[in-house]
């Protein structure tokens, strides 16, 4: 961490980056929040530890619009997120300095964050300056998705309907997701009105399913949607189910290989064709 702080200070000082996006600790409360670090300040309160849950990539588009060069502190999963943004040409790599740090897992509500269980890489796949230790990771297990898959359709519907009914449609999940960036969201379209704006079960279900499907093969599982949900709806389950499907069909985990084109935007002769072969039943 010390090395990284020094590096960022140096980069800010000699103008290689205009601002750095990192985690700031409030010494009074011990809370850690995302923040923008500028040239004229000391970086004493910049931290990186298990409290740094938040994905910072979502702030990049706003910052690169305002500054020429932005430094960003990245965990492994946030790095995957950054890759998905670069692959979709939302951000230009030339404006980013990626500062990767070997993540030892993050903690949420007093225990290890759920997403860390299936961690694909503890070091960002795209990196300019590397700090800390890189670790080898195993294949994902998707244990929670498998649990849901064992339920009968009726049980599964009840499980999700109970959660969906609670949704307030504040769209925090959409706002925090780096991959949700449509100019006009499908939920906001008036003509045709795909999803009713009122917070009721039918419309909420539509919203959550469409949100998840739009992220199929793109979601890098940073888990932010679930973390910010004020109603604690387990949205990662839906994303994970689709991630699992993409992993099984194409052997791909989004964002792990910077050069790879996402499987759902290319047509490949070798692609499995389970739907037409009826194997999906």
């Amino acid at each position: 961490m010390k090395e990284m702080r020094k590096k960022i200070e140096e980069l800010l000082k000699n103008g290689e980056i205009d601002v750095a996006l990192g985690y700031r600790e409030n010494p009074a409360t011990g809370e850690v929040k995302a923040d923008v670090f500028r040239k004229d300040e000391t970086l004493d309160d910049m931290v990186f530890d298990e409290r740094c849950v938040q994905n910072l990539v979502n702030y990049l588009p706003t910052l690169v619009a305002r500054y020429k060069k932005v430094g960003i502190v990245l965990k492994g999963c946030d790095g995957r997120s950054l890759v998905t943004q670069l692959v979709e040409h939302r951000i230009n790599k030339s404006q980013i300095v990626a500062l990767g740090i070997g993540c030892e897992g993050v903690r949420l509500d007093g225990k290890e964050a759920d997403k860390c269980g299936d961690c694909a890489t503890n070091m960002t796949p795209i990196v300019d300056y590397e700090f800390g230790e890189k670790k080898q990771k195993k294949d994902p297990v998707f244990s929670k998705v498998k649990e849901i898959e064992r339920m009968s359709p009726a049980e599964r519907w009840k499980f999700f309907a109970d959660y969906f009914a609670r949704c307030e449609r504040c769209y925090a999940c959409r706002q925090i997701c780096p991959s949700c960036y449509c100019e006009i969201c499908v939920a906001d379209q008036q003509e045709p009105k795909w999803i009713e704006p009122s917070a009721k079960l039918s419309a909420n279900t539509m919203w959550h399913l469409i949100r998840a499907y739009h992220l199929a093969g793109r979601c890098a599982d940073c888990g932010e949607c679930e973390r910010v949900c004020p109603q604690e709806i387990p949205m990662r389950l839906l994303n994970n189910a689709l991630e699992k499907a993409v992993h099984e069909l194409f052997g791909v985990r989004p964002g792990t290989v910077p050069e790879e084109v996402p499987p759902l935007v290319v047509l490949n002769k070798e692609d499995p064709d389970t739907i037409l072969e009826g194997k999906n039943e």
Binding site: R24, A34, D35, V36, R66, C170, A172, A187, E196, A199
Partner: protein, 347 residues
Amino acid sequence: MNKWYKMKHADMQKFVSALTEKWEVWVPYRIDGKWEFGIYDTGRDLDFPESVIHVSLKNLFFPKRRPIATYDENSKWSLKPVEPEGKPRIVIGLHPCDVAGIEYMDKVFLQSEHKDVMYASERKRTVLIGMLCSEMADNCHCTDRGLTPDATRGMDAAFARITDGYLLKGLTDKGKQVLRSEYLKKVDEVPDKKDWPAGRYVIASPEEFMEMYDDKIWHEMSDICLTCGICTYACPTCVCFLVTDENFKGKGERVTVWDSCQLQSYSRMAGGHNTRKTPASRVRNRTLDKFAYSHLRYGQISCTGCGRCVMVCPLKRSFPQLGARLTERIKDKKKGKSKSGARSKEA
């Protein structure tokens, strides 16, 4: 006159149960550690929080989703207004900040040019029995917004918790009628007077806020904000709604649904132009609406100091702290200080 009466805790339970015969009774419940109002089931244990209830009462008077008219194929899609209905109800255990929220909604829906008949009916059928707070929670700052945690203004009746029960007092005719009960004993006791701390989030005057309209600070304030709508839904005085038609197999309803100025779609107009496209402009709108616009329009700022916006914020940002930070900036500007260095750490 207007003396306090005493009731034992066990009697309170019996008293509230008896009320359910004639009234729909709403009391606070603790669900997963969060306090929320719900309809009282006879026999369930009654308890009241010391301070703010997490979910505001707004939904009772101005529901998230409210049908205002129906239509169907047979009547050639002509609109039939929905008649307001509902049995008389009592809300027990709301706090001074909740009442302040209701007072503000009254100004918007009842005392302005267009009277909202649905809101008027919800308001008319409700008796408010407020509870005096015995402490201030982490995010409470009503003392900085012209309230006190033990004020009884706007309540029909009020009560306070004491060691061996409750002290109750009727304030309006409606309230006194409800409190007519055999369980009440005349006593000389009065609730303890406390010195409430103030000065946590002091804010500037509405006029001073208006002068900040073109300041750069809005960009700094919105750098980290998600511009999701949850603070507006939790806020007891955010009353924006949209009107939409919901159709299903040959019939449909025209409904009002909560809307939020923090969402991009809120200010999008026909033709696609959006007057508040940037997060900064939306954050500015909400901040100024709470601290300035509301005062210009209704003569009262619309922040009640309940702190619910802090509780629900996905990023745990403190909106009141932002207001205080803005006030600092206003002061600095007046003193003519240079802008650099005025930027305090992110709230």
